[in-house]
């Protein structure tokens, strides 16, 4: 069903309220004072005596009633630095003033003296390992011994900025009954709730976190709101007034999390016919100054590092290390776009080395039903890898197009080179391994006495369509019109904890809980003698409420210690064919055409699925060709959209989306996740297409014209 967005009209007409649209009485506008050095001991904080500090309220680490820690995986990151700073832009204090401009002015009159320490900015030189993993399958040495050829390469992927349309922002205040309320732009209200508790010790019911309309997240609002919420709440408690803390774009880009950069090495043993016999992969990620979610990002990264291919002998090693740069964090794809870029481009390298067609190479090794992954997981169902490949080849007329490009390239006076490239990826849907079991997510459906049908979940609408898709699942299960369903605002005082809105899990996991809840409601109504088609009148006075909790699927086994077993319940698959054109004078790359086929299990709302795929493809194009975080002194130097270039509509090629449906028995109506999958596939396909066009094998992102120019001149000059 291509039903319309529940929240669409409100957003279109400007009725939806984002955090900066809320007005509060006696509010203080807060500004964060941040470190200017990548590493140092704090000697002293000076408040300029010539400045008029009347009306300014300042909160420092000394004002924190509980622990000075941002609780996530570890407790290493302080809410406000007290003795030592570990990265530029690390928060030191928060100040507020009733006038926003005055608050900014005041922040410029705070000076911090440091004893500078030597920073570590290069992850290769870091001696602090946050986390390391190793995956082993078969006998690596025996595999290499069988190989006819060994293909090695090193790949690099950069930071990437989430570039959500609305910057981070939170408001906080204390109610007269002592409830600390936090309202703002976020993906995971219950993460914020959990993080605030140790900082502001009180009865858990006295902390209430509410999501405001949120203008995009892409992972950038998964864990970062924990920090900004703590800052706003701290100042609100000190000032005894509401506080609003909204970042401007420059601050948001410089201070908040980005995609982890990575260096990935592949050494692959392969038979002459293209059969993979050994994969040895080494992944290094730069975590930044604090752990945040780095271990989990690395985990997903290594679990996708082999690509969607079966190989009997595999070793994947990964580590994420500390550097004195702002912490990296969650970003759509969560480690997988990094390692899949390397895995897929390496398939091109292998094909080139063996002198065989890269499509044939993929086809030979691609996952199929019954394949065993690097962790030893046997794929029992819902494996659409080959279908996506076949469909994308067919719909793009890949072979014909590739020949046409070669013909074009033979004409010397043509102003460009053309090329066609492709990539195939997989993406584990939902949390890794036992993640969902630990989460014990809960979500439910409720009938109000007035006959309304309400969805209760903490899953947030961040532009991806949560509200619509959850309503649709319940409507379909109850067999009632979609318009009848209302979705409750994610508010920790109102809704059960359905887990974070991350990892492409909302539709598959939370949707699954809601489908079960709705089924039970339906049974109860039927037992009450209610008949279908349902009427609103029949629901009135029923006052039913069902909340379901996630249960471990019986057949799923995962060993956290050895990294063996079922890493994910199911995987999505995607193939993308890109045709590019490289300008002979400027080396600029234009994408002429994209065709992508993606296996999402079942498209509950094809319109939303298409939206996710289109958006992810464009974000992937930015990752491939444009987005370049320039670092100076350990922080982002180009923290404006004028200099950090993301694709515009004019940079968006025609994109044709083919939806492949290989249903997953445990997803609602067969659905698997789709949120992240589209982000994984464009970059390797585009870089493969540049290879096809120019003969240049680029191994690092972004493939800027500057890099292409350099690559040209690093090798024998080609005729133009």
């Amino acid at each position: 069903m291509r039903s319309r967005r529940k929240e669409g009209p409100e957003k279109l007409t400007g009725v939806a309220k984002y955090i900066d649209d809320f007005r509060f009485q006696d509010v203080l506008h807060a500004v964060t004072v941040r470190a200017t050095v990548p590493r140092g001991r704090i000697k002293q904080i000076h408040f300029d005596p010539s400045f008029d500090w009347t009306g300014v309220v300042v909160a420092t680490a000394d004002d924190i009633p509980g622990e000075n820690t941002v609780l996530l995986i570890e407790r290493d990151q302080p809410v406000l630095a007290r003795d030592e700073v570990r990265h530029v832009e690390e928060p030191l204090l928060v100040l507020g003033h009733p006038d926003r401009a005055m608050a900014y002015d005041a922040s410029k009159h705070v000076r911090i003296d440091y004893d500078p320490l030597e920073p570590v900015l290069d992850p290769e030189r870091s001696s602090t390992v946050f986390k390391s993993f190793e995956i082993q399958k078969g006998d690596l040495e025996a595999g290499f011994a069988e190989a006819d050829a060994i293909v090695e390469e090193e790949y690099r992927v950069p930071h990437q900025e989430q570039a959500y349309i609305e910057t981070n922002g939170i408001a906080a205040w204390e109610e007269s009954d002592g409830t600390l309320v936090v309202l703002g732009s976020m993906q995971c209200p219950y993460y914020v709730h959990k993080a605030l508790l140790p900082i502001f010790p009180r009865d858990p019911g006295k902390i209430r976190v509410i999501q405001a309309a949120t203008g995009g997240g892409f992972g950038g609002k998964e864990e970062y709101p924990n920090i900004i919420a703590a800052h706003a709440a701290l100042l609100a408690l000190k000032a005894k007034r509401p506080v609003k803390l909204v970042y401007d774009r420059h601050e948001d880009m410089r201070a908040t999390t980005k995609r982890h950069p990575a260096r990935i090495r592949h050494r692959t043993g392969v038979r002459r016919d293209g059969t993979l016999v050994a994969q040895d992969i080494d992944v290094l990620m730069d975590g930044g100054a604090y752990i945040t979610l780095s271990p989990v990002v690395l985990s997903r990264g290594i679990l996708h590092a082999s690509g969607p291919y079966e190989c009997p002998n595999v070793r994947i090693r990964g580590r994420v290390v500390a550097t004195n740069t702002p912490p990296n964090g969650a970003f759509r794809g969560f480690g997988a776009p990094q390692t899949l870029f390397a895995a897929e481009l390496h398939m091109e390298k292998i094909a080139k080395t063996l002198g065989i067609d890269s499509v044939a190479l993929r086809r030979k090794n691609l996952f199929r039903l019954g394949s065993t992954t690097a962790t030893g997981q046997v794929l029992r169902e819902s494996v659409g890898a080959r279908q996506t490949l076949d469909r994308a080849l067919e719909k793009s007329q890949y072979s014909r197009r590739k020949k046409a490009a070669a013909r074009w390239n033979r004409v010397r006076k043509n102003p460009t080179w053309r090329g066609v490239g492709l990539a195939t990826v997989f993406h584990g849907a939902g949390f890794t391994g036992s993640g969902e079991i630990f989460l014990k997510s809960r979500a439910g459906v409720r009938l109000t006495p007035a006959g309304d049908i309400v969805v209760d979940a903490a899953s947030t609408e961040i532009g991806q369509g949560t509200t619509s898709i959850l309503a649709q699942i319940v409507a379909e299960a109850l067999d009632v019109p979609y318009e009848w369903i209302r979705v409750e605002t994610p508010d920790t005082n109102q809704v059960p904890n359905s887990g974070p809105t991350v990892a492409s899990r909302t539709c598959m996991i939370v949707g699954g809980l809601l489908e079960r809840s709705a089924d039970k409601i339906k049974e109860r109504l039927a037992a009450d003698g209610v008949r279908w088609p349902l009427t609103r009148a029949a629901l009135r006075g029923k006052n039913l409420s069902i909340t379901e909790e996630f249960e471990k699927p019986g057949e799923i086994e995962w060993d956290e210690e050895t990294y063996r077993g079922d890493a994910y319940g199911a995987y999505g698959y995607a193939t993308l064919v890109a045709e590019v054109e490289v300008d002979k004078l400027t080396y600029e790359v234009t994408i002429r055409d994209v065709v992508t086929a993606q296996d999402v299990g079942r498209a509950i709302n094809p319109l939303l699925v298409e939206g996710q795929i289109l958006g992810g493809t464009v974000q992937g194009i930015g990752y491939a060709l444009l987005e370049n975080v320039v670092f100076e002194n350990g922080a982002m130097a180009n923290a404006q959209f004028t200099n950090y270039v993301i694709p515009t509509t004019l940079d968006t090629p025609p994109i044709r989306v083919e939806i492949v449906e290989e249903p997953y028995s445990r997803g609602p109506f067969g659905a698997k996740g789709v949120g992240e999958l589209p982000m994984d596939v464009p970059a390797p396909a585009i870089v493969a297409a540049i290879h096809d066009a120019t003969g240049l094998f680029l191994t690092a992102l972004p493939a800027l014209p500057e890099q292409i120019e350099e690559a040209f001149h690093d090798r024998a000059p080609r005729q133009r």
Partner: protein, 276 residues
């Protein structure tokens, strides 16, 4: 911040003289960014938006006189500009996005003197003259003398840009405008090139005018290359030699947006392909 709004040109000139160091505000597309960043606190702003006579584009003898407050949108849609000065029309169509084009003005663009100003190479090859006015005098200045550094011009205190004169010229054998910004819209240039070439009947070069922007602190005409080529036939060998002289005229920089190496290489390619 204090804002004054003169109703006439005379008033504007008077106020500019009276408020020493005041900022003349035209389209404000760059000024608003610095204002938002708190960099304009305490300044006096002279809002020129009521000077409708400075918005006009009209013929004046053998030149087209473009009022300094003419917007990029006006310029790119103006019939005479499109026919006689197409490189300027093309440049205006690549500045920012539509919103910027309808606010931003040619005079503001010049006064702002950004190293990445997209209109400057076309203005340079069209030999534009900037007409300046102050309470003391009125004078003209060749566009190539206007830019003296990053966001610095040769304008004296109290001077306002009244108009820009574009002299008519014989239609060229070839013309080029090329903006290299990597992104297809709302991009800031890495390199921007404008060229006009007049060939004699025997195939020799009568005149070449070629200018590059965004390469260094100011946009520049390639004077060495231009004079080297005068009277020569653009054979591959001659063009290669001309291209090798390019470095004498421009000294490209590394910055957040690109590298000196790339800028130089792309400029060479653009010049070579324009000449061959």
């Amino acid at each position: 911040m204090k804002v004054v709004r003169p109703g006439t040109a005379t008033e504007a000139i008077e106020l500019t003289a009276r408020f020493d160091g005041a900022v003349p505000l035209a389209g404000g597309t760059d000024f608003m960014v610095s204002w938002n960043a708190g960099e304009a606190n305490g300044l006096t702003v002279i809002d020129l938006s009521r000077l409708s006579s400075w918005r006009r584009i009209r013929e004046a003898g053998r030149t087209l006189r473009v009022g300094s407050l003419a917007t990029h949108w006006q310029l790119q849609s103006h019939d005479v500009v499109r026919r006689r000065f197409p490189l300027l029309a093309q440049a205006c169509a690549t500045i920012g996005g539509r919103q910027i084009q309808t606010r931003g003005t040619i005079g503001g663009n010049i006064a702002n003197a950004s190293p990445a100003g997209d209109t400057f190479p076309p203005l340079l090859v069209y030999d534009a003259r900037v007409r300046l006015v102050s309470s003391a005098r009125r004078r003209g200045m060749a566009i190539r003398d206007v830019f003296v550094g990053v966001k610095r011009t040769a304008l004296e205190r109290g001077e306002l840009i009244e108009s820009i004169d574009l002299p008519y010229h014989r239609s060229p054998s070839r013309a080029l405008f090329r903006k290299v910004g990597t992104r297809k819209a709302s991009a800031i240039s890495k390199t921007v090139a404008a060229g006009l070439l007049w060939l004699r009947r025997d195939g020799r070069i009568r005149e070449l005018r070629f200018a590059l922007g965004s390469m260094a602190v100011t946009a520049r005409r390639l004077e060495t290359v231009e004079s080297f080529l005068r009277g020569k036939k653009p054979t591959r060998r001659v063009v290669d030699e001309a291209v090798s002289l390019l470095e004498r005229d421009v000294d490209p920089i590394d910055d957040l947006r690109s590298t000196a190496r790339y800028r130089l290489e792309v400029s060479r390619n653009l010049l070579r392909s324009f000449l061959l």
